[in-house]
Amino acid sequence: ADVKIGFVVKQPEEPWFQDEWKFADQAAKEKGFTLVKIGAEDGEKLMSAIDNLGAQGVQGFVVCTPDVKLGPGIVAKAAANNLKLMTVDDRLVGADGKPLEDVPHMGISATKIGEAVGQAIVDEMKARGWNADEVGAIRVSYDQLPTAVDRVEGAISVLKKNGFKASNIFDAPQAKTDTEAALNAATVVLNAHPNIKKWVAFGLNDEAALGAVRASESVGIPATNMIGVGIGGADSAINEFKKPQPTGFVGSVIISPKRHGYETSLNMYGWIADNKEPEKLILTSGSLAKRDDYQKVRKDLGLE
């Protein structure tokens, strides 16, 4: 029979998921199965999406859930529709908060990415010869999103381990997850501490770090006194590296949408077509990309 696979993601507008879809499509073309792509921004839409997949005669699907706590619901819904289930990016948890280990997953822990960001910042500080005591850190936060909390906390843990004082870390809560909101929130922090001359910044993604970098520019902090590190490595970050002059946006931790999109759907195909059950857990890692090496890093990840 024809193989039909669903690929459901939580934020279809985000480049990251566009890329995942793109690579999943590539797998579909190679193996000759049909890929059904649906965006589901919240739990309710996700439940409907699964019903919809069932109605279309899909045999299995890969999902990046809007919330990991939806775990039991997703599992039940998939079972009710007789669908095979795999997760990508974010791992489902049960009511007790423990991962649902039965569901095959490919992803990367949010805390780990955050730690990579923190490490990148610390390395850059060392390279510039900064003294942690005279540096301020902007935590561009979006606490409404659990993943976002885990990421920034990961970064902070590394900073602290390397001698950063908690009192030098300032919260810049963004009202939305776009660059403008991060820019406005970071501006307030910078203006509230005019005596601090050197800054580092991080957040949930590239947009958050970029907002903070833009804020530093607008209040006249030179690029040499700013270190922003983002997460994602898609066009927002690349545009920044392409600028003729280096900016305070030093690097981005790239995670590979290729593996996440291509391999997951390939695995799902194998599961359906050849009854080859995928590995329960595959963890990928993030790689830091900077102005001078981003092309190489992307090539290594299979993105160019």
């Binding site: 739990g43 309710e44 919809n52 109605a55 706590k69 775990g71 619901g73 039940a76 009511a95 999103l145």
Partner: protein, 316 residues
């Protein structure tokens, strides 16, 4: 024959007729659409919007506005889950959720009716406050359900149809009846149609508005409970943007933002149109970015058709 067709199309129920025609067309053209599975899935997908639309219809008919419904749905869902977990009793959890929803709604009503604060601002404020409460209560994270029986609210079936759909149908019937056949419903339409005249006629305008908002809160709670059961957790970020979907469904269904005009059949059609659009776009695998455009165009066509219909009727 020709004139009687015209009569049906242009009559009060013209929107319904247009809808039926469109539905038939979609059933023929879109594969997998008219299957029992898909129909049930479709209906389940409009449960939240449909339930909340019942009372939003009253709200708009009374020339009011409620932006806080999304937050209230999320909040009530959280309360249901957390109270169930805390007390160990699902029933207590549900009662707590209903009470919280109604209190939030009534608070909206009191502020709007008694302090005469603009409904848009008031409910925008409660939208923020209630969302904040939901986030604070759960520290921004979803709360899992301890007692798996809670899932049965959404999973159980009667005559092969899931409970939430029955609840939706029940509310459609109840509020449809309420609008046309009860003193409360007529007062609502009167308050929206001419507040001054209603006041002078001795209608207790303030109490009518407060009741409408309280009911709105109550249906939000019902929707929130079913949603929590369906997604097997209380989620503080649930139902963001719900207000716009609900208001659009109502307006699409012919409810006037200037108050005084509303029909339940129209609202049902509005809700279904929006649900079908989403369903069909996914069945046809329309790419995400193009879905935006299709959604916009469908909205426009739906109201345009209805306008043509009623201006052909010379009503305008």
């Amino acid at each position: 024959m020709h004139t009687s067709l015209k009569k049906v199309l242009l009559g009060e129920q013209g929107l319904v007729v247009i809808f039926v025609l469109a539905f038939a067309l979609v059933s023929l053209l879109v594969p997998n659409f008219l299957t029992e599975r898909n129909m049930l899935g479709l209906l389940q997908s409009v449960v939240t919007v449909g339930i909340v639309a019942c009372t939003m219809m009253f709200c708009l008919a009374a020339r009011d506005f409620d932006l806080s419904v999304g937050s209230n749905v999320a909040f009530a869902g959280m309360v249901a889950v957390m109270a169930s977990n805390a007390t160990g009793s699902i029933l207590l959890g549900l009662l707590a959720a209903l009470a919280c929803g109604a209190v939030v709604g009534a608070a909206n009503g009191v502020v709007i009716a008694k302090f005469r604060i603009n409904a848009l601002i008031t409910t925008l404020a409660t939208m923020q406050i209630v969302r904040g409460l939901a986030l604070i209560a759960s520290d921004g994270r979803a709360v899992g359900i301890n007692d798996p029986n809670f899932y049965q609210l959404a999973l159980s079936k009667l005559l092969g149809v899931p409970t939430p759909i029955w609840v939706l149908i029940l509310l459609f019937v109840a509020f449809g009846f309420g609008l046309n056949r009860t003193v409360f419903g007529k007062n609502t339409l009167a308050v929206g149609g001419n507040p001054e005249a209603s006041r002078l006629a001795g209608v207790n305008v303030d109490m009518t508005r407060i009741w409408i908002f309280a009911l709105q809160g109550l249906t939000c709670a019902v929707a929130g409970i079913l949603l929590a059961s369906r997604i097997t957790s209380g989620q503080p970020n649930a139902a963001v943007g719900l207000e716009l979907s609900v208001i659009s469904a109502c307006v699409l269904g012919g409810v006037s933002l200037d108050g005084g005009r509303a029909t339940m059949s129209g609202v049902i059609v509005g809700v279904l149109i929006m649900g079908i659009a989403e369903n069909v776009m996914n069945l046809l695998n329309i790419p995400a970015f193009y879905q935006y455009i299709v959604r916009g165009v469908i909205l426009l066509i739906a109201v345009l058709l209805d306008n043509l219909r009623s201006s052909a009727l010379g009503r305008r």
